[in-house]
């Protein structure tokens, strides 16, 4: 996915960009509304992340102009303002969603996913390995031609493995990706999810291997 990030705080922008690149997305960063307009004019984006308070104006003005043009790139607003005061205004102007700073990256990711799912008609990126067809955006899994119904955490866990087959994930790393920081997660919980995932994948060539003391790894047989 290709994202445009409009954010004047260099540090925050770097942090968001590096985190999103980790998930395999392409990020262009604009510091000003002027740059943002130039980026939008020359490139095509799947999603725009837009800050409200920018040095050369209000992000909502950009949003208004953007909506007035024919481009229908979905926009998620990053706002530092009080949630009470800005909510209605931003959504009225045509933002698809917004997150309040500081945000949980998982929340931003979830919101991006939800917005993309609502807006995507074409261009689906599906992952196909060892008899497994996975559409991360729609959250559809097909194993051996049969659709499998999965819960959200199972989906995210599977996506982690499918994005990096052969990579070892420690239990605590997996826990950090699946649970928010205010939840008390026992290592058992991870084992439960791994167990469920194994069951879903049982009909395919994809196998989750336990590496004692290290973690888990996705192996594709054959």
């Amino acid at each position: 996915m290709k994202f445009l990030l409009v954010e004047d705080n260099q540090d925050l922008a770097n942090a968001i960009a590096s985190r999103m690149r980790l998930d395999g997305h392409v990020i262009d960063h604009a510091e000003k509304l002027e740059d943002a307009s130039a980026f939008v004019a020359t490139g095509e984006y799947d999603l725009i992340l837009l800050d409200i308070m920018l040095p050369d104006g209000d992000g909502r003005t950009f949003l208004e102009q953007h909506r007035a043009s024919d481009l229908n790139t979905p926009v998620i607003i990053l706002t530092a303002r009080s949630q009470v005061s800005d909510r209605i205004g931003s959504l009225d102007l045509g933002a698809d969603d917004y997150v309040t700073k500081p945000f949980d990256h998982a929340e931003l990711e979830a919101r991006c996913r939800a917005v993309l799912r609502r807006n995507s008609g074409n261009a689906r990126t599906t992952i196909e390995v060892g008899g497994v067809v996975f559409d991360p955006l729609a959250g559809h899994l097909t194993v051996g031609g049969e659709a499998v119904k999965m819960r959200n955490r199972e989906l995210r866990l599977l996506e982690l493995f499918l994005n990096a087959p052969g990579k070892i994930f420690s239990k605590s790393k997996l826990a950090d990706r699946l649970f928010s920081y205010d939840e008390d997660v026992s290592e058992n919980a991870i084992e439960v999810y791994i167990g469920r995932l194994r069951k879903h994948l049982s009909a395919s060539e994809a196998k989750i291997t336990t590496l004692r003391g290290l973690g888990y790894r996705l192996d594709i047989d054959g």
Binding site: V84, I88, D97, A114, R153, E183
Partner: protein
Amino acid sequence: MDSVAVSGSLRNRLVLTLISGAAVLALLLFFAVRNFAVQVAQQGQDNILDASATSMLDAATIRDGVIELDLPYSAFSMLTTSADDRVFYAILQDGEFLSGYEELKFSDSPTFQTDLIRGSGVRKISASRTLIGVNRRAELQIVLAQTQDALSKTLDQISRNAALLGLGFFALAVALSFWASSATIGQLGKLTTSVTRRGPQDLSPFTKPVPREMGPLVGSLNSLMGRLDQSLSQSEDFIAEAAHRVRTPLATVRSYAEATLQRVEKEENREAMRSMVKAIDESSRAAGQLLDHAMITFRADHLVREKIDLVDLVNDLVQRMTPIAEMKDLSLLLRGDPRVPYSGDPVLIQNAVRNLIDNAMKYGPAESSIEITVSASPTLHISVCDQGSGFPMDEIETLTSRFKRGANAADTIGSGLGLTIAQDVAMAHGGKIQLENQPEGGACVALSL
């Protein structure tokens, strides 16, 4: 408005002044008219008495040195009145009583006198004539008196009419004074209406023309509103600016910490990063809720009611919160009536319900559902129920009293402020929140409006 200290009433004062003025004027009018009438009537009687006395004197002659006086009939007939007034007379020659009523005394000046004869008030005239005959010169004096029954009858009638005139004048003046004071006070009333009719957010100056006397009042009202507007927008800007200043660096640190957590392998470092993220979350939640609370207090004080559909409103919220709920494998279920129209502040209500759903997501177990009901019966309410362990029975009461006491205790931030916000919003709309545990388990919070 009901707390304004009232001292007297402008209208009453004005009406009272005008009416007492009118009463004095009416009395003056009454006496003036009556006095004038009395004078005119008295003048009439005096003229007739004078004419009568003159004709009597004219009839006197000296013949052969003897005074002859044949009282003419006309002298008495002209004194005839509708009230059969009695006439008394006395004829004197050179101060010596000749004929008539002896008790009538001659008096040269004044000519006309009011006197009492045989118990009746009379008007009397003293007239004299010098008769000159051959070797004879005599002074003939006549005193003529007439009772005043007809006159007093006329005077009574005139007094009645004068009183009626005075009363009529008074009644007219009273009506006028009511009208005048209403018209004057009405200007104030108009100003009051246009102040009350304004929305709580409308602090623009008054531009409608007002009477000159009200100019200074409206002027100072305008300048007060100008200052208020400035300080209100300053405090709103301040809240927004404070949020920006606090949240942006927190967001930066949090994002870095999260990104670093993805790369760090060593368990103790990971634990440290996790604690860092947790601490950031805690402080940002506290800052956020404090700012939200400030904004909510601000809006609740200046409640602007709009016509809204609560189902629409809550549905928007549920849609928005679904991605977060999904991350925890929680499902949000919206139940209840298809449409619940209400008049309230949508921003406040949404914030209150969001806090309730936030709480439910915090305490609900994974892979459970949170039920949100919007219904107009039996009372208009929005309830949020989770399937967690519910409120500790012994704490339900203290939870209520805790946020009733307010959220100023530092240790209640985070857990206490969410419910406080919901409570404040409910109260601003004249409602309340109720905490209870469902019989089958799980906490339920109902926001009734």
